[in-house]
């Protein structure tokens, strides 16, 4: 058996004539933080969508704990232990923070429509447990005091935090974070770095799309570079930082030659 924790094999995704993800193969060992970087429109979000089941690849395979999970619906992928956040936060705006987190516990709830309508004892004991777990998560995130606030009333930085907390509530083994630092200030970004490391230390493997280079270099064990849908480089952050191809993409041709000479 192939015991790579998570792996994509020759993934392809087209949008009409646009080859948004082109033959991307990636291996992610368990317990790593792997960053995915690349210029705007490189196909990073599309790559995440393929993994999460939001989009299906036209070609290629996705393997998770040795099992094929290609072209599964998002809720199935979530059930297998892959959670995600979105590039632009997608909280349930009219619900409270606590309720947002509790939706993250949905997978652990066992009662169906009928049991819920009849409010059977098992339903409310499960519900109570789910609430307790959600509150514990909020406490960990320092969000307890705004548990009963409506999500859309929260400042932006906190909304990002809630979204991460919500995805952790599903108890994932692999977490996909799409530009978690976008829109955060320096302090918030620093806290975010610590948070991601803490999540990794809990044994959760992280795949992070990020534009903030210092964040990427600080926390990631390995980096993948995508450009126009193609994986052009992969390796530890220090190597990637010096890769002339990567520098050329990010800073332009002139800069790359200057560094090389």
């Amino acid at each position: 058996m192939d015991n790579t924790f998570f792996e994509t094999k020759n993934l392809h995704r087209f949008f009409g004539g646009l080859h948004a993800v082109n033959n991307v193969s990636v291996k992610v060992p368990q317990g790593q933080i792997k960053a995915v970087i690349g210029p705007n429109g490189a196909g990073k979000t599309t790559f995440f969508n393929l993994i999460a089941g939001t989009l299906w690849p036209q070609e290629g395979e996705i393997l998770f704990r040795g099992k094929k999970i290609t072209a599964q619906k998002p809720h199935v992928v979530a059930g297998l232990g892959i959670a995600r956040t979105f590039q632009t936060t997608r909280l349930f705006g009219q619900m409270t923070i606590l309720e947002n987190i509790m939706v993250g516990r949905h997978l652990r709830m066992r009662s169906g429509f009928l049991a819920c309508m009849l409010n059977l004892p098992q339903t409310w004991s499960q519900d109570r447990e789910s609430k307790a777990r959600a509150l514990a998560i909020l406490r960990d995130f320092g969000l307890l005091e705004c548990a009963h606030e409506t999500a859309s009333n929260l400042p932006f930085g906190r909304q990002r935090l809630v979204e991460i907390a919500r995805s952790l509530a599903t108890e994932p083994a692999l977490l996909l974070l799409d530009e978690p630092a976008a829109g955060l200030n320096i302090y918030e970004t620093k806290e975010l770095a610590e948070l991601i490391l803490k999540i990794r230390d809990q044994g959760i493997t992280c795949l992070v799309v990020e534009h903030d280079m210092s964040l990427v270099m600080n926390i990631s064990d390995e980096v993948i570079v995508l450009d126009q849908g193609v994986k052009i480089a992969e390796g530890p952050p220090r190597t990637i930082q010096r890769d002339p191809e990567v520098i050329r993409i990010y800073l332009g041709d002139d800069h790359a030659q200057n560094i090389e000479s």
Binding site: T54, P74, F86, L91, L107, C116, L118, S130
Partner: protein
Amino acid sequence: MGFRKYIPVIVTALMVVGLQIVLSLTGATYYLTQITMSAYYALVVIGLCLLMGYAGQVSLGHAGFFAIGGYTSAVLTTCNLIAYRDNSLIAWCGSLGLVTQWTDIYGKDILSFSPWAALAAALLLTSLIAVLIGVSIIHLKGHYLAMATLGFGLIIYRIVLGAQIFGQADGISNVPPFGLFDGLQVNGRLPFRTQNYYIAWVMVITTMMLAINLIDSHIGRALRSIHQNEEAAHSLGVNTYRCKLFTFVLSALIAAAGGIFLTHYNGSIGPSEVTVMKSIRYVAIVAVGGMANLWGALFMGILLNFLSLRGVFGSYDDAVFGAILIGIMLLAPQGLLRKPDFRAVLSFLSKRSHG
């Protein structure tokens, strides 16, 4: 936890009893008939509120489900099988209590399916049709779903109007009363007026309890999350398709139940119950009720249907509901009776009284 959510249930029950006492003391018991009918219409509204307000799925075809319930029940309880009395299949149904013999108002002997059997068949048929329709259209969004359900409503209307078995433009009359338990029966005749007022309200309050429990559970949260951001809900493991489909079927069943009971209560059902205007009326009532507000929907469902049945809107009946819908969409697209607004009003009042 959460016994507070039943307080409005108790308050409603007390108000229902109070109203009945007041009306009987003032000798105005004739109102009870229209309140009873309004209560059955309100059932449809409650079901639609779950679907529209919470799951965010619009349906312009709920009069169709009401009709499937009512007409199935009417056909099965009025078809006369007396000629086949000796048929072994009919005899077997009789031994199971599925068919009963009764005498209609003209003194004719009728052997037809019992109301309980008809109810079971009607609900079964409704679920079947709702699942078939739901499976094919529930993935549609917004206008497309509205159009598809509208189409469904129109088809049912045309079938009812065209088919001999449904009495065409005349509908079906002479539907027998529905004997629930000994003594209790769904019956529109005068001696049964008060009894039926309570039967209808027990139905409404029971449905409200079930709906409130559902909304309060993880499935209710899942429904609201789908309404607010379907992709996020899906990625958290919510089976959005199944949740929407189940809610669709559930709300269709509630509408059908309303149709079944009202048909036995009125002793008849006609094509006017199946028009698109009826479906639009239900949508308008959910909208004034505040969309995601079960109590608002119930309150408006009783009030507006009662006024309509009293003839307050005269020949502008349908126009009034059309106008209500336009007004809501223009002025308060989130619905009129909304909880945040109530809270805002309450806090405003409490500030004023303190300051």
